[in-house]
Symmetry: C2
Subunit: 475 residues, 2 copies
């Protein structure tokens, strides 16, 4: 087909490219339940074929599409129903179509009058999230690329509000179970690593408010400036939910900013069980939650809510860009670039707005309730299996377990993942290795969890029954 311009194909060619891509994707998604949960076959050759200088001339779209299709099915099958590792990332079709629209329309949403209706769509998604958490009308927020950037903006908002321009002596409190992005955010924001206190958790791996208060008092006595406590709802390791109301009491009494990292767990707030677990979350000064986790959206869709919206703006609005002088403020809709480290960035709002409008909130609530149920099913199915240890009931949708010896736990992970029907990851809790299964994908249903129970039980039995390893001698 002839091109209208080297970089802009004609309408027929454009339609054809999109149709071919769509056909590949639909076939791929329909086959996800049958695909292996991980695959590393032939990756050396595929990777080597990519290593080349920048090509001076072009290539055929059909060939490149085939190459992308081969690339897509290598590694962890994060989009499939058996992916229970880390925090699964969803990938609703409606969100992919929304992103296609957003990218091809390519309007700029960093300031409201550049694309007032698109900006309002994105702002609407922020209002809906704020409503779900009982935040007031003066709350604000942004969509980010993910939980790490949300936590970063929370840290700078807290820093600016509580410390002003001078970060000297600022101290942040987390627990040993808090996601590493809290530490990373603090370091990026200029807080020395030594000033991030990782408090020990209680028996259920939750933040201890008494210990928190003691640490704050102690740091104050040393002349330091405690300014931020980060609670989790829930943790990545085990799904533990910190006692938010009690932590809020301490933060309030001591004058600290309370940030709740609900990147993984936040959307369970749509369910009755989630709201009970997160009691008091509306008192948090800021909340991270990732639509690319609990809303089943594609990777790259995080969010941050801030109860007093002015605080978010004061931390991010530097007000000195003369070349932006034509861009007035709107009465009710913000310029997102005043609330975020980003000026230009993708239009994330459409991939939140369209799925919510298309499917409705009820569909998400039901799916989230299903995930909580599935985690219970998994827990009940393996907790009395011979050789398996599970110290904690799942508070949300993570089940963490181990075998008595670390070598056995490692062997168990290898066997489970060798099934290629499910894929788990491991972590360390209190110096001991644990496997974890996190049920968040919208594609994971009862059939796969029943299968997972069987695989885990069988694998544990095999590991327990295997002859002890004889070092240096033949089997």
């Amino acid at each position: 087909m002839p091109s209208a311009h080297p970089l802009e194909p004609g309408p027929d060619e454009m339609r054809d490219m999109a149709a071919r891509a769509s056909a590949v994707l639909v076939e791929h998604i329909a086959s996800l339940p049958d695909q292996p949960a991980s695959s590393f076959e032939g990756i050396d050759e595929l990777v080597a074929a990519l290593r080349e200088p920048a090509p001076e001339g072009g290539s055929e779209f059909a060939e490149l599409l085939a190459q992308i299709g081969e690339a897509a099915v290598r590694g962890f099958n994060t989009a499939g129903p058996g992916y229970l590792a880390y925090i699964p990332g969803g990938g609703l079709w409606s969100a992919a179509v929304a992103d296609f629209l957003a990218t091809a329309f390519n309007r700029y949403v960093g300031v409201w009058n550049a694309a007032p209706v698109f900006v309002q769509m994105e702002w609407q998604t922020i209002r809906w999230l704020a409503d779900a958490f009982g935040y007031p009308a003066e709350s604000s927020g942004i969509l980010t690329s993910g939980g790490s950037m949300s936590n970063f903006s929370a840290v700078v908002a807290a820093r600016r509000a509580m410390l002003g321009d001078d970060v000297t002596g600022g101290v942040v409190y987390v627990t040993e179970q808090t996601h590493v992005s809290a530490l990373k955010s603090a370091v990026l924001a200029g807080i020395p690593r030594a000033n991030v206190r990782a408090l020990p958790g209680d028996d259920l791996l939750r933040m201890d408010p008494v210990g928190l208060r003691a640490a704050i008092v102690d740091d104050r006595a040393r002349g330091l400036r405690p300014f931020l406590v980060v609670a989790s709802a829930g943790t990545t390791n085990t799904g533990a939910v910190d006692p938010i109301a009690a932590v809020a009491d301490v933060a309030s009494a001591e004058g600290l900013w309370l940030h709740v990292d609900a990147a993984y767990g936040g959307f369970f707030q749509l369910t009755e069980r989630g709201r009970a677990a997160f009691a008091g979350v509306e008192r948090a000064d800021s909340i991270t939650l990732d639509p690319h986790k609990g809303m089943f959206l594609p990777y790259g869709t995080g969010s941050l809510l801030v109860r007093d919206g002015r605080r978010l703006r004061e931390a991010h609005d530097v007000h000195e860009a003369e070349y932006l002088q034509d861009l007035a403020e709107h009465e009710t809709t913000p310029n997102f670039s005043d609330l975020s480290p980003e000026l230009s960035r993708d239009f994330r709002g459409l991939r939140v707005w369209l799925p919510l409008k298309l499917h409705g909130l009820a569909a998400f609530r039901e799916a989230l309730d299903e995930k909580l149920d599935l985690a219970r099913v998994l827990y009940e199915g393996i907790r009395e299996a011979p050789g398996i240890e599970i110290p904690w009931e799942p508070e949300l949708s993570v089940v963490a377990f181990r075998m008595g010896a670390e070598d056995d736990t490692r062997a168990l992970l290898d066997r489970i993942n060798a099934s290629r029907r499910i894929f788990l990851s491991s972590t360390m809790v209190g110096g001991r290795m644990f496997l974890r299964a996190c049920v968040v994908s919208h594609r994971t249903h009862r059939d796969r969890i029943d299968e997972a129970v069987g695989i885990i039980r069988d694998s544990a039995a095999e590991v327990a029954g295997a002859a002890p390893r004889a070092t240096g001698s033949p089997p």
Copy 2:
């Protein structure tokens, strides 16, 4: 059509959704040359229609698609050929298709073994950019959401390399013309605003290396710790290119990190004229360049290159996430999450890799040369027009101009934009208001620039010929 699951339509419905979206987009893009350069008609109604609580039930896709189509054509027509304001953002169809693929496949690219072939595709784009700037094999880089995040990571890399953990007394040097994101990045990174020195430029608005050195010596004498100088290639206001080699001499002699913000101008490096203008850029410690500008990609695609790749990693790798313990390092391909503030984020690499492979580098080089030519055409066409003042020849593709009086300049902007065939923005330089036309879109060709020359000349003549405003009296 029946759905397989409330959140996952069946294959026929999926294909249908994509086909409808594609049809709307192709028609939209084909009509871009005829669309107004800006439109605010009916926005109050469209915005008001969006204000609602989160919907409990779903809606029809066709209705939502129509609503999105209405929203898309309001505000500044950033995707059209007449958009010459700020920095135009492109929007290649091949990139939109790539993003559709990336989003629907939804693999995770933050660590290499989660998606080794996709990660290599993204890494390949970094290698190509590094090669274009003469960076060595040990250089590294990341794709970001845009120039602001690239500049931020450059600041933290410089801070970590030059100051260590303690930011106290750190000083950053920019010019009055440096993009505001440099200041913002420093503030976000914990450098007090008062420690960011905005040096006056020379007659051509470029950084003065002698003044830079004097400022560094002066700050050192006051006990401060100069650590970073940010040069521009070129500036957003006028496209001015700082004398990079001379600035590199000062940075090297004084032991400062040299960052070059080439967010707007960087891809002109692919042209002979660009390479001449950027002489010495390979000596920079880091370079920001935005594929969503000079590669005509959709908003949300920035990049940062760092000459000594270890520096980027040392600033971003906190190494404490036990739940990531299964993720080994690859010999030659990095874990992007160790090089960036982000852990989860979208797979940006595909929308850089696919367009480069599909169209080839030559197509981009030719298009960039065309933009440099078009800026000359615009400059020559209006520089002797009655009433127009143009103090600077365009170094790259920005033409900045004004009329004698600020009111006239403002009136000129209004008249030009009222044409709705082109859309310009204004800025302040040295306390005076300037209009600026920035030629970067892949859709802007000679016909539109000739039209722009006519519109600007006619508008200036009208403003110059208009009776002086009589305050309070009827015309």
